[in-house]
Symmetry: C3
Subunit: 266 residues, 3 copies
């Protein structure tokens, strides 16, 4: 992974402002939209069954997130995904809290099959739960290490033929046999709600401009982590961190990526 390729994607997003259609949870709608705007994309949130197909058809990527799911929204997600697939629009899936309740586990399993995402992003607990149903998670926070989740990510990637991102202190980007690791980020990030969901939305923005799902996912996670490090240099706590994080996405230049990037591929 080299910084020039990441920067090319950032410039591509900023110059084309791809429309990212999000069907996501109530908690993060505002912060997700602001992060997408800050990096240069054009977010839209729409969940009505009457319009999701039309909206998804216009998008550069479709992002599905089950953070505050309910029955009607799941139907809309399936419909939107069908429309996106018809036009080869990349679908990114965030299985928030899968494993915490039976409803979440069943819904995540259904979306895995019916939405056919090209990229899945979750924390270690979620990816393990999604890979092998029957394991529990504690709420929406991660209780497994990234390393423990690697096995699950590999089997999930092979079974669903998609890229799997396990976010954590080290982010793992798994595509079949290949593995990329991003070491960027900051311990304050889990203290701001929805930064995992923001990562998923940014993956969508990068997938809208980079035809390689694997590269898009890796580049997005690197930009997340680097923005987090830039924010941490100025933040006193999670409140100011959140503000500086958006500023960092907006201000990030090639030199910032070059200076901060800590990643390797295997």
């Amino acid at each position: 992974m080299n910084y020039e390729a990441i920067w090319r994607d950032v410039e591509h997003i900023r110059s084309t402002a791809p429309l990212i259609h999000n069907i996501t949870n109530y908690v993060v709608m505002n912060s997700t939209a602001n992060a997408l705007l800050a990096i240069g994309a054009s977010p839209v949130m729409a969940h009505a069954i009457e319009e999701v197909e039309e909206m998804a058809s216009m998008a550069g990527a479709l992002v599905l997130n089950i953070g505050t799911l309910s029955a009607a929204w799941i139907e809309a997600m399936v419909k939107a995904a069908g429309a996106a697939r018809k036009r080869s629009i990349p679908i990114v899936f965030d299985p928030v809290g899968v494993g915490a309740t039976r409803f979440r586990t069943e819904t995540a399993g259904r979306l895995l099959k019916e939405a056919e995402p090209v990229i899945i992003r979750g924390n270690a607990s979620e990816i393990r739960a999604l890979a092998s149903t029957g394991e529990g998670t504690k709420g929406v926070d991660s209780t497994h290490t990234s390393d423990q989740a690697l096995e699950g990510a590999r089997s999930l990637s092979e079974r669903c033929r998609c890229v799997v991102v396990v976010s954590g202190a080290t982010d793992l980007i798994v595509a079949g046999d290949s593995l990329a690791c991003v070491h960027n980020g900051h311990p304050m990030m889990p203290r701001v709600t929805g930064l995992g969901c923001t990562a998923t939305a940014l993956v969508g923005a990068f997938a809208a401009v980079n035809p390689s799902a694997r590269d898009a996912a890796a580049h997005a996670m690197a930009v997340m982590g680097i923005a987090g490090e830039m924010a941490a240099e100025r933040a006193a706590g999670p409140g100011s961190f959140q503000m500086h994080f958006l500023d960092a996405l907006y201000l990030m230049q090639e030199a910032d990526i070059q200076r901060h990037l800590r990643a390797e591929e295997q």
Copy 2:
């Protein structure tokens, strides 16, 4: 448009804290409520069909916004509008994304007829789409200039006998033949999600204290733009901009309006 009249409205809002009933989208509920509180109004968000009539009846203005619409919410909007009209409570309408999907276009058309707003605020794409159904918009962002939208705004204003606000680098406030232009604002504003929706809500707050819908709309747009300029003086990016924008609404004095106001009437 003179700064003293704008300041009188601001003082009126701060001293009477009018209740503004918002039926708005999930993305902006928090930021809209905070902007209304910052300028001195008293926001309430309520969408349940069981209570919208009662709530709207108590309000100084009713603000309808279809940003994340769904069927049940539309019914509530129509009911709330009926209750507001009975008591001559001003109704402000934000047709977010009209033209992007058939559902939005039909819904906006229905609300135009059944809600009978006294003020409509949208970006150039939305106002053109609302004026002449059949034109497309790209997501919820504007792809037309304000000038191109003037014709649409005029015809919409005449057809619906209401004030039409086209927000953009220059905001146009159209009431039949009359036109006011507000040149205040800052290029960072479209990089913060929901500032258009915030403008609509502020229009509601001004309409609650100023019986002239045209003046209320123009004064609100001027205060939006001036707060944006005040925020931009201190902001590094869209994260800090959003924070300083709320502070500016709260701190704004008559001298700030006098110094910043760039507007004219035709």
Copy 3:
């Protein structure tokens, strides 16, 4: 009330990160989650009827808030409360806007009976309306003083055998005959949306670690007020206040509590 006991609760929350299950309103979901994360708790928002029982069963506390209520959410609240009671998980109730509409008053009355909260937090208007149905409130803001609400709080506390918190310039924590008063806080707090809801959520976090509902409520209100004072030292307006408030929750040390605490018990 002594600062060491408050600090013990804060340390307990930070070291155990209790899961707080919130069924709350759209406006405050993000800010509530961020406040819970900032103090060290682990928030989850889940409202689907299919999963609320499972989610509530895992939680350290269940927080119910009717700020943007609708019929389906009420059923979910009742179900979640049933599951929480079975496991003696404390339930905290925020009757936002009770008295403003018949729907809110009826819903609050129903939840009082069927959810059986151990702690209720509201402003003076809400507590009075809840204690004696038939009184009106203006929107969701308080129009009664804390003192006027004391009588209502006492009768409510006795009737429902629960702790009642009336928040205001002075917070009253009423448990039957006993009364604690917290004088901490800052006039800017009502200018930020949802800080009342944040207080309720923090009460949930403290109830998850302190078996005395009365002490949990009093300690949470003290921490709210102290964080508000710490934020006000650095804030220019409500935008920056909100940011510094989250930082203060995160940074608060025992010495801050010792220096700021102004409270007494009767």
